[in-house]
């Protein structure tokens, strides 16, 4: 397991007059799953964007502590896994081409057989040569989950990972989170009661 900790101090964010959160302190060590809950518009996705480094917070700061060193999450994009509704797939590529493309970018040396096995693990092996465009929304979600985790990142950000997934797909989410707990940190933003049990820490926004 990676010896790391995701730390946020005094985080505050507002859009216009709407304050989403303020003076938020977080410490998420390896092996923990931070469950972020809250009603729509409470700032769950915004918090994930801030914690992952995609967005600078108006107040406070975020850092990843690893082996005594501190680093802003923005510098660790290549070590992050992320699956959010805002991230989409290349519709004109096949599932297999998508996997091959991202494995080259991530520097994860995987041959076609291994990629095929990975696609099988999320139930997409038989549709691997079909364009993503013709995938159902559940199939796209499975591929996104696979892309977020196949490079075994120490930090994984999941925003509504169970959206559009059937029971079998929810099992995939469960397996992914359990595997990630053994590898590092999980930040899970969700309102799906089926996913609440994965959390080892809980943060409720919008109070």
């Amino acid at each position: 397991m990676a010896d790391l900790q995701l730390v946020a101090e005094g985080l505050g964010q507002a859009f216009g007059r709407t304050r989403l959160f303020s003076a938020l302190d977080l410490q998420v060590p390896s092996g923990d799953v931070l469950l972020v809950r809250g009603p729509n518009g409470s700032g769950k996705s915004t918090l994930l964007r801030i914690l992952s480094g995609f967005m600078r917070p108006q107040e406070g700061q975020v850092a990843v502590r690893w082996q005594g060193k501190e680093c802003p999450p923005r510098k660790l994009f290549h070590r992050i896994g992320m699956c959010t509704p805002e991230m989409r797939l290349y519709e004109e590529l096949t599932g297999m081409e998508t996997m091959a493309f991202f494995s080259k970018l991530r520097g994860v040396d995987r041959d076609e057989k291994t990629l095929q096995e990975l696609l099988r693990s999320v139930g997409l092996e038989t549709s691997r040569h079909r364009w993503v465009k013709v995938y159902s929304s559940g199939m796209k979600q499975r591929l996104k989950l696979l892309l977020a985790t196949f490079h075994e990142p120490p930090i994984l950000y999941l925003d509504e990972p169970g959206s559009n997934l059937d029971d079998e797909g929810m099992d995939v989410v469960g397996r992914i989170i359990e595997a990630q707990k053994a590898r590092g940190v999980v930040i899970l933003a969700t309102n799906d009661t089926r996913e609440f049990a994965y959390g080892t820490q809980e943060l409720f926004l919008g109070q």
């Binding site: 995609f54 990843v64 690893w66 680093c71 923005r74 660790l76 994009f77 290549h78 070590r79 992050i80 992320m82 959010t84 805002e86 991230m87 989409r88 797939l89 290349y90 519709e91 004109e92 590529l93 081409e97 493309f101 991202f102 080259k104 970018l105 991530r106 520097g107 994860v108 040396d109 892309l147 120490p154």
Partner: protein, 231 residues
């Protein structure tokens, strides 16, 4: 944290390959560039043709028109490479997985491929249709190639900036035009001289100006791209 395992070259080639496969399947930028360039080319050749221009003025006027076609054809499709990533929300995945420099280089090479294809089709057609007589064909071809290289270098960063803007519309042409003007002027003069006959010294002077422009824009783009791409 350990550095990335992938090499820059592998990332650049993966992005270039992905964009080429994606483009040949959708043909959005290809259609825009080729439809524009061929339409203008045929309009110019049918409406004006080679005979309405005095022979003495032909090299300068025909060179200027050629670059106007090349410039606006580029403007009609070169921004797609970034606009598409933003509009289809695929940019965040690419931001996470690839180095910024690899994204810039991959997209730059893709744009160069598009413009190279356009130049390879439009320039000979233009020469034939306009009966453009060229005294130094090799120098002329080199001027066109380096002009396209310089233009692509200059506009790729602007395309990334435009993709982030809400009002994309004509922004790409408006921002690109003042930056590309010096290059266009040198390229027009270079191709015009190559048409009438150019000495090696004049050719080298013209190419070195275009090369300096392209080099400066390339280095500047590499430095600035991360700010544009990630912020």
């Amino acid at each position: 944290m350990e550095p990335k395992n992938s090499s820059l070259v592998n990332e650049v080639l993966a992005i270039l390959n992905k964009d080429l496969v994606s483009e040949f399947r959708t043909k959005v930028a290809l259609n825009a560039i080729f439809l524009f360039s061929l339409t203008v080319l045929f309009l110019v050749s049918f409406v004006v043709g080679p005979y309405k221009i005095r022979t003495l003025d032909q090299p300068a006027i025909l060179s200027a028109w050629l670059w106007i076609i090349v410039f606006f054809s580029g403007m009609s499709g070169l921004d797609r490479v970034f606009v598409k990533e933003e509009e289809t929300s695929t940019a965040p995945g690419l931001q996470l997985a690839a180095r910024s420099s690899a994204v810039f280089l991959g997209k730059f090479l893709f744009n160069l491929c598009l413009m190279g294809m356009m130049g390879a089709v439009v320039t000979p057609l233009y020469i034939v249709l306009m009966e453009f007589s060229i005294a130094s064909p090799l120098y002329f071809a080199a001027e066109v190639f380096f002009g396209i290289l310089g233009m692509t270098t200059g506009v790729t960063l602007i395309a990334a900036m435009v993709a982030k803007a809400r009002m994309k519309g004509a922004l790409f042409s408006i921002l690109s035009f003042p930056i590309i003007i010096p290059l266009l002027l040198v390229a027009i003069e270079g191709t015009s001289k190559a048409a009438t006959g150019i000495s090696s010294m004049e050719f080298l002077r013209s190419i070195s100006v275009i090369g300096s422009f392209a080099g400066a824009m390339f280095v500047l783009s590499l430095i600035l791209f991360e700010k544009v791409w990630i912020e």
